[in-house]
């Protein structure tokens, strides 16, 4: 019966994020905070493995106070308990500092056979935290899983690469990141969400996981953000005027002139 730890991050629902064009600011007001998509697939996969094999699912997250909602949702989906790393020291951690914090949290949780998380987070899109945690804990790293079988103390995993599916085998414990195509996460019922509030959820501070504040946040990060700005395209933005036929003729000649279309 496997002990599974799932790492999950709460993020803004990125599809609803937009830029206010008058003041060129990101609008986050009213934008929902959700579990990052492929992390949700990781929770779902853990629940399916538990349904088959039994065992226990522990969810670990790092974030501000409202990240508790993510734990509650994970428990409503079928996880047994949740831990969150929270406090000002954790803020502004890069992939390295985040991985250091999560690895320390995992060590404190203790027992596990498998650690699962999404292949990347919806907000940062760095693809780094999973492999970095795996490295810190010196675990076999299996990324982009689309099928996971646990048997005889081993994991058999099908991975999705650009042009192929690769099947790999590893001893447990192992660290596995999952791709979105692995499953369709369930929607927890309202009853399950209410019941989840009663399940154990524990908040840990930096001292609880035995790290020093300077190992986290901006100070503990290895990358340094210099500035951020509203993203703008660097395109020509030429409007081609005229009735459909006229505009289409102009556009076709322009594109052939630019050498980006070869008509045969």
């Amino acid at each position: 019966m496997p002990n599974i730890i799932v790492l999950a991050k709460q993020v803004f629902y990125t599809q609803d994020l937009r830029i206010d064009r008058t003041n060129k600011k990101l609008v986050t007001e009213g934008v929902a905070r959700v579990i990052s998509e492929s992390d949700k697939n990781a929770i779902e996969e853990a629940v399916r493995l538990k349904e088959k094999l039994g065992g226990k699912i522990t969810v670990l997250t790092m974030g501000p106070a409202q990240a508790k909602e993510a734990l509650r949702e994970a428990i409503a989906m079928g996880a047994d308990e949740g831990y969150m790393l929270t406090g000002p020291e954790f803020e502004n951690s890069d992939a390295h500092a985040t991985a250091a914090a999560l690895a320390a949290g995992i060590r404190k949780i203790g027992q596990f056979d498998v650690i699962l998380c999404g292949e990347t987070s919806e907000d940062q899109y760095s693809f780094q935290v999973g492999p970095r945690v795996a490295e810190i804990l010196n675990l076999p790293q299996i990324t982009y899983a689309v099928k996971i079988t646990l048997q005889d103390g081993k994991a058999l995993v099908e991975r999705s690469l650009e042009d192929s599916y690769e099947t790999v085998e590893s001893k447990l414990p192992a660290f596995i990141t999952v791709s979105r195509e692995i499953n369709e996460p369930r929607l927890p019922t309202l009853m399950a969400i209410m019941a989840a509030s009663k399940k154990p959820m524990t908040a840990w501070t930096v001292a609880d996981i035995g790290l020093k504040p300077n190992e986290l946040g901006r100070e503990g990060s290895l990358t340094e953000p210099l500035r951020s700005a509203v993203a703008t395209g660097e395109r020509k933005r030429i409007l081609i005027q005229g009735e459909p036929k006229e505009a289409a003729d102009k556009l076709a000649s322009t594109l052939i002139g630019e050498g980006v279309v070869k008509v045969t």
Partner: protein
């Protein structure tokens, strides 16, 4: 700083030879600005031909590492070798191709070297004061560009496929090939099988022209309007995320966007696509972007080189006709 502590040189690595050539092109530019050499790392069972090829595409030096255990990419042996080499030769910068394999390699190696890594960089240059690499990357669904540097050495970056044109091959170019004897350990993860992906649709990742459509196309039966244009310009059909994920009109590997296919065609023609940032992020490396949309306020016009405000049901067939006319005039 003593000589032993000095970090020097720009390295490139990709397990994909086409991507390695692209990285060499960007690497030349960076090594020129930093006043240092450009080296490529070749890992494999036999890399003598690859090494010569890397020199002909711009490398000053190739670290050639040959071992049967390095025959195909596997993250554990490749990380072991790259980490040991970085410790021994101390490059200032390592550029890694942002393939699925390259991404997991970059993160694992960076953590073992306790250094920073920036993945999915959209822009990469040199900060003249700090003499280090400075990158832009898109975060928060592509709404925000973050500009970053890496505090430690080596500085590791991943760069997407198709973002740079390779240099012209120069078979007379000379360079140094350094043979490196790898220390390999048995990988804890064994590959037991590989099967090629059956692409349900067309492969849009390698296409030179893509005609893509979004919710502006009203019904599935109308897709031939798009296909006809794509066929005329020797291109393929792509779509936006909702068309594949919600409507399921096209296979999932045919949608373009941050979470879907990131494409780098010569021409990207977006029909009836509003231009959600999620979509725009997938077409950053397209050479020319064209859009057709009824709504002149749609964000796609901000991210296009050429735009036509109009009904795709009229404009797209007119475009197909226009290209056909131009080709028959030849």
């Amino acid at each position: 700083m003593t000589a032993a502590e000095k970090y020097d040189g720009v390295w490139v690595f990709s397990e994909n030879p086409a991507v390695a050539r692209e990285l060499l092109s960007k690497g030349r530019e960076l090594s020129g600005k930093l006043g240092t050499h450009l080296a490529a790392v070749a890992l494999g069972e036999n890399v003598s031909e690859t090494s010569k090829e890397l020199i002909s595409f711009g490398a000053d030096k190739v670290y050639a590492v040959q071992d049967p255990s390095l025959k195909a990419f596997e993250v554990h042996p490749y990380s072991d070798v790259l980490t040991e080499m970085a410790k021994a030769y101390r490059p200032d910068v390592i550029l890694i191709g942002a393939t699925r394999s390259g991404l997991e390699l970059a993160a694992r190696v960076a953590e073992r070297l306790k250094t920073g890594c920036c993945t999915e960089c959209s822009k990469l240059g040199i900060d003249p004061d700090r003499k280090c690499v400075v990158v832009d990357r898109l975060i928060l669904g592509g709404n925000i560009t973050e500009t970053l540097i890496i505090r430690n050495k080596p500085q590791i970056f991943t760069l997407p496929k198709g973002a740079f044109q390779p240099l012209r091959k120069d078979p007379n170019r000379t360079g140094e090939i350094v043979q490196v004897q790898p220390k390999t350990a048995e990988s804890p993860v064994k590959v037991v099988g590989r099967k090629p992906k059956q692409f349900a649709g067309v492969r849009i990742g390698d296409a030179e022209a893509i005609v893509s459509f979004g919710r502006g196309l009203k019904k599935k039966e109308d897709i031939p309007i798009i296909e006809e244009l794509a066929k005329t310009i020797n291109g393929v059909v792509g779509c936006s995320r909702p068309v594949a994920e919600d409507l399921k009109w096209l296979p999932i590997d045919q949608y373009v966007g941050l979470s879907g296919q990131k494409v780098a065609p010569k021409l990207y023609l977006a029909c009836g696509i509003s231009g959600q940032i999620q979509h725009i992020t997938g077409i950053q490396n397209a050479r020319v972007v064209v859009c057709v949309n009824t709504d002149s306020k749609a964000p796609i016009f901000e991210y296009a080189d050429y735009g036509i405000v109009g009904d795709l049901y009229k404009v797209v067939p007119a475009l197909t006709e226009a290209f056909k006319q131009l080709s028959s005039h030849k």
